[in-house]
């Protein structure tokens, strides 16, 4: 059968009006009808921009210079209105907060139907059906302000599937979702793409999660260009991932550590169907029995203690209930769990933004009741989940320096500390840029940098790596780990990223529905089916690999972490 090209870029370049260099350069790309394509690449390389070119936002709403041609369904996008294009293309934008324009979940899902003048009678059952598809049927009347980031993302998804469009584009659909929802979303997208008239484009940094369901092609971008246009197998077998800063799946790393030959393996893309040769198995088991140094850390004195903390936004509906935990100096703790379980709320309680309705919070052994947010802020720094919530200044540099300036630090030291933080976050070269002309991932890094420059004793990072590519991810984490190991700072990661939790923390606090359901080492959490189920977590691919080898998953994961830390510290 002849494949029908549906999106065609020819020598395409685009430069934003206010930029001096082109953001997209010499793009040559053809996507065929019915394909499912994954777009990978470092943050800020132009993935979202590429999508804007396809859905018509460029040139409709973003001014700039276009050269070359971009055709959707055989027609030049420049000559089409955005409405004509919206019949062909449906997009879930990166910022799920801004996409929510309705006053309730139902209204938002119905938004495009309203604009198409679909009668209300037809709209109601359709909205119900769509809400059901994404698991939001109990929330149809819910207000946007009462939803967690993940829930909003689901609504955005429902809004797009409703379109009877042929090209669906998802800009980092997993960024705010808990692992189980992530899996469900990938399954959902996969179900949509089963329909062979639908073309699906996904931008995502979480390669391992996307590959949970097969994709036809992967397009790797770098600095505005297309670096590679290949199949998953080829990509995983090549060195391209490492070179362009995309993280490879954990099970592959383990196999590489064990010295398995993966180039011959055709089943390498998907852990579920992965077939291991006897040789591979032997090597992996040998790897498992290698000696690794034990990770031991002396617990320091206690810095934060939560004592039976309960809090409700609305009277009678507690969001967190009876939280009890102790965090010690120099620890690195992961807070994981379901969307909307109350993780960010706990962070806001610790920083004094909200105060417990019941119970006490002690910081350095003192009940913080009488301290102001500012005073608490000197001990505990908090990088909020949504970057827009934090940014108050116009230029990146000013934003990072803001807190330092408020603390009577000498000008030299301010510059030095801000520079160090900005370099760690890969922002130094654009320090004079306005904050609103950088990509989402870059904004997130601005907020991380502003707290890291300040360097309080305890740092809470809410989803620090959401929307980050592996290179920036590594740089940020390295810097944070340095703060931890050299200066003894206590670090709390709130995260949906199990890689992050496994590799960089010693302990996991697991949340489900407002309660702490587990508080133990990361590997025992991730090999406990009950906890995984309750907290919407997901077994890592290491767990499945261990199962295939009939090894104890807990021990295998632990071994892997130790091994990896050994390798990394040897670097």
């Amino acid at each position: 059968m002849e494949k029908k090209p549906i999106i065609e870029f020819k020598d395409f370049s685009f430069k934003y009006k206010i930029q001096s260099k082109a953001t997209l350069r010499d793009i040559n790309l053809t996507i065929y009808e019915g394909e499912k394509v994954l777009i990978l690449g470092p943050s800020g390389c132009g993935k979202s921009t590429l999508m804007s070119c396809i859905n018509g936002l460029i040139p409709f709403s973003n001014e700039g210079e276009i050269t070359g041609s971009c055709k959707v369904n055989g027609r030049e996008t420049r000559t089409l209105s955005i409405f004509e294009l919206s019949k062909e293309v449906g997009t879930v934008l990166q910022d799920s907060d801004a996409q929510f324009v309705g006053l309730s979940v139902g209204e938002d899902i119905a938004f495009s139907m309203e604009n198409e003048m679909v009668p209300r009678k037809e709209m109601i059952p359709e909205v119900e059906k769509l809400a059901g598809t994404v698991g939001m049927e109990d929330f149809i009347k819910a207000l946007p302000f009462d939803l967690s980031g993940g829930q909003k993302q689901k609504v955005a998804l429902a809004g797009v599937i409703s379109d009877k469009v042929n090209i669906l584009m998802f800009d980092e659909p997993l960024a705010a979702l808990d692992p189980k929802m992530g899996v469900a979303t990938i399954e959902l997208i996969d179900r949509v793409s089963q329909d062979k008239t639908k073309t699906v484009l996904i931008i995502e940094h979480r390669l391992e999660d996307v590959l949970y369901r097969p994709v036809d092609r992967i397009i790797l971008m770098g600095e505005g260009r297309i670096v590679a246009d290949t199949t998953p197998i080829e990509l995983l077998n090549s060195n391209l991932l490492k070179e362009s800063g995309v993280r490879e799946p954990l099970y592959l790393t383990a196999m590489k550590y064990a010295g398995c030959d993966i180039s011959a393996n055709k089943t390498i893309c998907d852990i579920e169907n992965l077939e291991l040769s006897d040789d591979d198995k032997e090597k992996l088991i040998a790897f498992f029995h290698e000696e690794t140094p034990e990770i031991k850390k002396e617990p320091g004195e206690e810095v934060i203690r939560l004592d039976d903390v309960t809090f409700a936004y609305e009277h009678g509906k507690p969001v967190v209930k009876g939280l009890d935990t102790v965090i010690r100096k120099g620890e690195r703790v992961a807070v994981v769990g379901k969307n909307g379980a109350g993780k960010s709320t706990m962070a806001k309680l610790i920083t004094g933004i909200h105060r417990p309705n019941k119970g006490h919070i002690y910081i350095d052994g003192k009940d913080y009741k009488k301290s102001t947010v500012k005073e608490i802020g000197e001990e505990v720094g908090y990088v909020m989940q949504m970057p827009n919530q934090m940014i108050v200044k116009d230029l990146i540099k000013d934003e990072v320096e803001l807190a330092l300036r408020l603390r009577n630090i000498s000008e030299e030291e301010i510059t030095e500390r801000a520079a160090e933080a900005m370099k760690a976050c890969g922002l130094y070269s654009m320090r004079k840029w306005p904050v609103d002309s950088v990509s989402y991932g870059q904004k997130k890094r601005v907020t991380v940098a502003s707290i890291m420059a300040l360097g309080p004793d305890t740092i809470i990072l809410d989803e620090p790596t959401a929307g980050q590519d592996y290179r920036h991810y590594t740089d940020i984490i390295k810097f944070i780990n340095k703060l931890n190991s050299e200066y003894g700072k206590t670090i709390i990661f709130i995260t949906h990223d199990m890689h992050l939790a496994i590799e960089n923390t010693d302990r996991a606090i697991v949340f489900a529905d407002g309660k702490i359901i587990a508080d133990e080492s990361v590997y025992s959490v991730l090999s406990n089916d009950e906890i995984i189920e309750k907290a919407n977590l997901k077994q890592t691919s290491l767990y499945m690999l261990a199962k295939k080898l009939d090894l104890s998953p807990e021990k295998f994961i632990e071994h892997f972490i130790r091994y990896e830390r050994m390798v990394k510290s040897g670097e």
């Binding site: 206010i18 930029q19 260099k21 116009d394 130094y428 070269s429 654009m430 004079k432 840029w433 306005p434």
Partner: protein, 194 residues
């Protein structure tokens, strides 16, 4: 000219007007100090300045009109059309910025423009609260003219104060912000450090 006056009513403008109206409502309810009956010293007055500067007089007017009704709705203090309409008229004058060449989006806001802007604010207040509102108040509520003028006068003064004292610095800031938004280049890291 007419186009500058009406503004471009695309989705962006609609959203901007809506956000302007919302801001106006919020600031009116939570960001004001009452100085007189029906009169506030309010930070909300900054809204028509920004909307006018970026989108033109008519959007500024609509933002103010809707914003006023909104403030009445969330504050729940009843609908006082006399003041809403007066405010709308004021918004029109405040938002005239693009018509006399103050092009904030391209970083143009000079002393000349600040002077014209101040005059417009004075004129707008004079017409809105010297004529429109008093006439409507005495018509709707049969209030005493003298008192209505007095009230309006207080309103006019406090508005003008906010418009000039906070408005001009904000305009300068905005225009600088937009001026800096051109030809962004990555600056390499200095090699002296590390």
């Amino acid at each position: 000219m007419l186009k500058k006056f009406v503004g471009e009513w695309n989705t962006k403008t609609i959203v901007a007007v809506a956000i302007g109206a919302a801001l106006y409502g919020v600031l009116m309810v939570w960001g004001s100090i009452p100085v007189f009956t029906n009169t506030n010293l309010t930070s909300a007055m900054i809204v028509p300045v920004v909307v006018g500067a970026l989108f033109g007089p008519l959007p500024a007017t609509v933002a103010l009109l809707v914003g006023n009704c909104l403030a009445d709705l969330i504050g729940g203090w009843g609908f006082w059309f006399d003041w809403s309409v007066g405010n709308g008229v004021l918004g029109l004058f405040v938002g005239l910025l693009p018509l006399y060449g103050a092009d904030i989006k391209n970083g143009i806001f000079k002393v000349k423009h600040a002077v014209i802007y101040t005059i417009c604010c004075l004129l707008g207040n004079a017409i809105a609260f010297g004529i429109v509102t008093p006439v409507m108040t005495s018509l709707f509520y049969s209030a005493d003219l003298e008192i209505t003028f007095l009230q309006s006068f207080a309103g006019g003064i406090s508005n003008t104060a906010v418009l000039v004292v906070i408005g001009i610095p904000v305009l300068v800031l905005l225009s600088k912000r937009y001026a800096s938004r051109a030809n962004l280049v990555e600056e390499p890291e200095e090699l002296t450090e590390e």
